[in-house]
């Protein structure tokens, strides 16, 4: 039987398919500009009911809500500090998560300690939730290492730069959980751009075939560097999952409560042995792709401004205030904590030593390698020759 694409198509701003798009006759629904998504808090901070997902945040306490708020504020503060450290030359590069705090904190807080997380290079908020010291994230951006924490310390894998690779690692890890008979789950992060990589599709398929307990969490921040997401996909990304045989859902990624609820749903069903799920968190990269990028070359600022109205932190603050879940004192204290975090990060980065030059030869192999030993020795002799020359 024919399965026509029933999805609402996204607006096609690019002219890439312009010439033929007009000839299509099969789209069943007219294009709509706003995708349907799971939302529990409106941009104005109003709680809206959702029959399917309310139950996943039903028992949430004011304290927990304040906790989410705190997580987002501190993450943003950390992120801003890192951006400014890059400008000061302390970091070589920074990939800001500005705007994506709710998606990351909501999903990150949904994970259990024994779950395992596979991030991209932008999941500073998730790292925060996992208890990774934020200063550890900065090593690779400063250029002192390529991954500065023990993945098994917090079940938070290293940042992965080759787009999409980690989706397969996550799936394999989840297959291992099944083999172990454990009831934990895995969550794999990736972006809208990454969805185009073959590895991500292969991961979807392996996960489905082995019914692996893995949640694919795609932060659709609308951009892959300069490419808007309609250059990556013809239909909403959450629908990709269906073709591989598992559910997909689009959540308001600027709504921390909805992100928490939907991720809990997905992780719980994974833990119950119901297999993978795909979550598309609809959000926005408020800043540049990285500090090397200049978004004014490819996008209008009014788009960014429109998203500013949907700010994830602001909306939770409105909700907290409207429902009297937080008072002035809380916000003031958080402000202080924020500044302290910024200071700590600043100082930690400035104190970061360059690695010893012999680190080049360390850890290339776990069991050693004759050539590495030989080259290390030659390198040492070469270095020593200068010491000799300098009469040291």
């Amino acid at each position: 039987m024919t399965v026509e694409s029933t999805a609402a198509r996204q607006p096609r701003r690019s002219a890439g398919t312009k010439s033929t798009a007009g000839k299509r006759t099969t789209a069943k629904k007219p294009p709509s500009t706003e995708p349907e998504l799971v939302q529990l808090l409106t941009p104005e901070g109003k709680r809206v009911k959702n029959a399917e997902y309310d139950k996943y945040v039903a028992g949430i306490t004011p304290e927990e809500l304040r906790g989410l708020y705190r997580d987002m504020v501190l993450t943003r503060r950390f992120d801003a500090e890192a951006t400014s450290l890059q400008r000061q030359g302390e970091l070589g590069l920074w990939a800001s998560l500005l705007g994506q705090e709710a998606a990351q904190i909501g999903s990150g807080r949904a994970t259990r300690e024994d779950d395992y997380v596979f991030p991209t290079y932008r999941e500073h908020g998730v790292a925060w939730c996992r208890g990774v010291d934020p200063t550890n994230l900065l090593g690779m951006f400063r250029g002192v290492n390529n991954g500065g924490w023990d993945p098994n310390g917090n079940n938070f894998h290293l940042y992965t730069i080759v787009i999409g690779s980690q989706a397969l690692h996550a799936t394999g890890y989840a297959m291992g959980i099944t083999k172990d008979g454990a009831d934990s789950a895995v969550i794999a992060y990736f972006g809208d751009g990454a969805s185009s990589q073959g590895d991500v599709s292969e991961a979807f398929n392996f996960a489905a075939v082995y019914n692996a307990p893995v949640v694919f969490f795609c932060q659709n921040n609308q951009w892959a560097i300069s490419e808007s997401n309609e250059k990556q996909t013809r239909v909403p990304l959450y629908q990709r999952a269906q073709g591989f045989g598992f559910p997909g859902v689009r959540v308001d990624g600027n709504d921390v409560l909805a992100s928490l609820a939907v991720t809990r749903w997905a992780l719980e069903r994974a833990r119950r042995g119901e297999g993978p799920a795909l979550i598309e968190a609809w959000t926005y990269r408020m800043g540049a792709h990285t500090t090397s990028d200049d978004p004014t070359r490819y996008r209008h600022d009014d788009e960014r401004q429109a998203w500013e109205a949907k700010d994830p932190i602001l909306r939770l603050r409105r909700f907290l205030e409207d429902s009297n879940h937080a008072d002035e004192g809380f916000f003031a204290e958080l402000e202080t904590e924020s500044e302290a975090l910024g200071k700590r990060v600043r100082e930690a980065v400035r104190a970061m030593q360059d690695p010893d030059r012999f680190a080049i030869f360390e850890n290339v192999y776990a069991d050693g390698h004759a050539l590495v030993d030989e080259e290390r020795a030659q390198f040492a002799a070469y270095q020593a020759s200068f010491a000799d020359a300098e009469g040291v």
């Binding site: 290492n145 098994n152 394999g172 083999k179 392996f206 075939v209």
Partner: protein
């Protein structure tokens, strides 16, 4: 069954069986490795005896196979992955080069990836395109990988044991045209270290160095040369990365001449690295340049031409003559 004569393919099978028996974390993965036992039957009977949870037929996706094997290794497993043929490893190349090879260093040693990637390789079996290639140089150039290739059943057995026990990723090149060659395998022996070369024939006039499928050819060439009164030493390198340059150097200091033989194209092949480094180490010992015998700079040809493309007894002897003529 301490010592038994068996085919090289069977030796690998027995070695994996032993690993599956002794270490519950060992899993076998690949296309058709289950009921079929692999297209070369190297995994024959393993799924039957160890179940589908440990001997896993995967979807047809090499990147997926290696990528999920990495994930399993992160979870504490020791996957032994089969790539069906040499020419089909390339979809997995990104996972191998950017992830498998580098994750230990990236994590400053926190993460180990004990993954074995088995690749039946080389020609001489009359196959269609992509089924006869020798891509070992493409892995040896990549730091973080170890690359080995046994030439006989006994090494196949023991090197597989060692590869599985290694905490590093090992690309394990199996000489497919030797799968059916039998040799004595002593499963209670104390094996040589995995990356140590071995003199398989002592000689004085010239060293022939090879690994995997070409060792036997070199031995035959040495036999033929002996009839002409030339006394060749034959070195089974066994490991391509690391490469046992000390052993090659020791041999060349004695024989003063070296010919390297491999099936892979000569251009940017293993012979280049060996020639460069041995020339540096033995500059005053060498009486002739290191000569290389290998494939041409051309895609592996159709089967009817492979005998012309591959190193042959005559081509090896031709190189020997040329080296001795210096």
């Amino acid at each position: 069954m301490a010592a038994e004569k068996m085919a090289l393919a069977k030796a690998i099978n027995e070695s994996m069986r032993r690993a599956l028996e002794t270490d519950p974390k060992v899993v076998i993965m690949g296309e058709d490795v289950g009921k079929l036992g692999g297209v070369f039957r190297v995994t024959d009977g393993l799924q039957k005896d160890f179940g589908e949870d440990r001997v896993i037929d995967t979807p047809l996706a090499e990147s997926g196979i290696v990528g999920t094997a990495i994930g399993l290794a992160l979870r504490g497993y020791r996957p032994v992955v089969e790539i069906q043929f040499d020419g089909f490893v390339f979809p997995a190349y990104d996972q191998i080069v950017t992830q498998l090879a580098k994750m230990h260093a990236r994590s400053l040693g926190k993460v180990k990836l004990p993954v074995v990637v088995r690749i039946p390789y080389g020609g001489g079996i009359g196959a269609v395109e992509h089924h006869s290639e020798s891509p070992e140089a493409l892995f040896a150039h990549v730091a973080g990988l170890k690359v080995v290739s046994p030439s006989n059943a006994s090494d196949a057995y023991w090197m597989m044991q060692q590869a599985i026990q290694s905490d590093d990723p090992v690309i394990f090149f199996e000489p497919k045209r030797r799968y059916w060659d039998k040799a004595e395998v002593n499963t209670e022996a104390i094996p040589d270290p995995l990356h140590r070369a071995r003199v398989v024939r002592e000689g004085t006039d010239l060293t022939l160095a090879a690994y995997g499928p070409m060792v036997k050819l070199c031995q035959e060439a040495a036999d033929a040369a002996a009839e002409e009164g030339k006394n060749l030493e034959v070195l089974d390198l066994r490991s391509v990365s690391p490469l046992d340059f000390d052993a090659v150097q020791a041999s060349v200091e004695k024989t003063r001449r070296l010919v390297v033989v491999h099936e892979a194209p000569v251009f940017f092949g293993s012979g280049a690295e060996i020639a460069a480094r041995i020339t540096e180490r033995c500059f005053y010992h060498l009486e002739a340049p290191v000569l290389r015998v290998g494939g041409y700079h051309a895609p592996y040809p159709p089967a009817r031409l492979e005998e012309e493309y591959l190193p042959s007894l005559d081509r090896v002897l031709d190189a020997v003559d040329r080296a001795l003529a210096y």
